[in-house]
Amino acid sequence: MSFEEYVLARGPALVRLARLLVGDPHRAEDLVQDALLRTYPRWQRIVRSDHPDVYVRRVMVNLSSAWWRRLSNRELPADLRAHGPVAVGAGPEATSVARMLMWERINGLPARQRAVIALRYYEDFDDHRISEILGCSRASVRTHAMRALKAMRIQLTADVEATV
């Protein structure tokens, strides 16, 4: 598979993941562009490894972490500070507010925790695949997931809890 074929085929999926990693559609395209730029010169080597998806996603996660370190310095965004637990009231309006607050909480997560949430609950990857992408152990993946969910105060169902 050539680099061009890969971008045409997988580019949309990468941008969708990037939207979750950086929380902004414009910056998401910048992130994917930057990741692909770093991948382009060594494409032949990457594609021979049969894991270009893992490699490109790893670059994206690392870049988003670097951005996050620069911008947030592990601080929560200001707009998150005003909110308590994510509460669901009755009716569509309350649900809409709760979803908005949840997105703010996702945005407030440290980059690697956020990456784990996106890879696990959006991409539906297992811990092994996520650990390959993040370049860490499966235990670390579980730790990131646990902390992220705790930070967002997600009430886990029994099934999900068992996987954590």
Binding site: G11, D30, N73, E75, V88, A118, T143, R153
Partner: protein, 397 residues
Amino acid sequence: MNIDINTLVEQLHSRAEGPVDSRALLARVELVYRRRRSRRAVVGAVAAVSLVMAVAFATLAPHDGQSSPPGSPGTGGPRPVLPSGAARAGDVHQVPALPGIGSLNDASDVGADPFAVHFDTGRFAHPVATARWSVADGVEELTFYGDTEGVGGPKGDSASEYYAMVTMSTASADRARPDRTAADFGTPSPVATQRPSIAGVAAVAETVVHRGGMFDGQQETTVRWQPVARVDVVVSVRGEIEPADVLAFATGLRFDRASRCAVPLRLGDLPSGARVTGCAFRLSNFAAEPGAGRGRGDLLVSGPNGSTLEVRYLGPQGPEPSTQAKTTLANGWKYSVMSTDSGMPGAPNAVIRVHEPWHLEAQATGGYTMDDLLLFAGRFEQSGDAEDPQTWPGSAG
């Protein structure tokens, strides 16, 4: 009632989905790649020439004692008073810092006091966004980053961003190098190596271009020397910065005055056998940067058998605690438990977040438990004005 996991999944899908023009994406990548490649070709050619010129300048130019090693002529005059952090913020080429006490006399000074970084800097050739001063594990370190085109957050084309690091240690030069073991950083391809003299001391200046890995195509210039016997100093700047600018910055380092690491806390009595072993302090020049005009800081306390207690000052205000989280420490500060012993390797045994009066996070590792952490945090006292790092103490006692 809390939102369940299905809502999370639904929310992720709704935020991620949307049309993507992959042909436009490919076209942009190819365009930027061609542009960068042609620019690097020019930079590579210029780098070798400018490094030679910089070395000649550094060797021939008269020194005013600013970077003289201790004991050499020119260091005996009165120490200039550094302007405050707020005042320095007016000059975005200055590395933001707090003035410290003392100077580098010999190798035993390095890393001995977690609140003292035994050097200060001059101006950098490009705007400095945020600086982090730290002392840990016997290494004194300054890292800072910025953008040659000003500071406005990350851009897709990061060619104008730079990252700089100054490390001072008494171990081997390798130890003082940036830690690059955790990711794929490719292979550095040498562009130019010179042997300048910095204040009469032999140095090595090397410029490389990284091939492959995360920094593929990025240039890095590193200057190494020993301003004092057995003290290794390494200045390293990655980005499209002229080697001459890196060498000029290295030459402008001063070892006759120190910078301070500070946190607006007094820790009180520490657990038996424990002491403060690390400190990190951050300050920014730009309002758009985190911590602009205000500082952030971390303290590391080391106890027996590698156990640690760590506190991170995150600012004067934090998120409101949840209803269940208004628990009170012995000092009356409100906190919530973020994490208890997970039994997972590498994870802290306990993490708490203090909400009032200031925003802190504290964590325990090794043999320290949640009880130890609560006792530790319950002894904290405010010290200095949270909004003014100049008033923060240069010790934890």
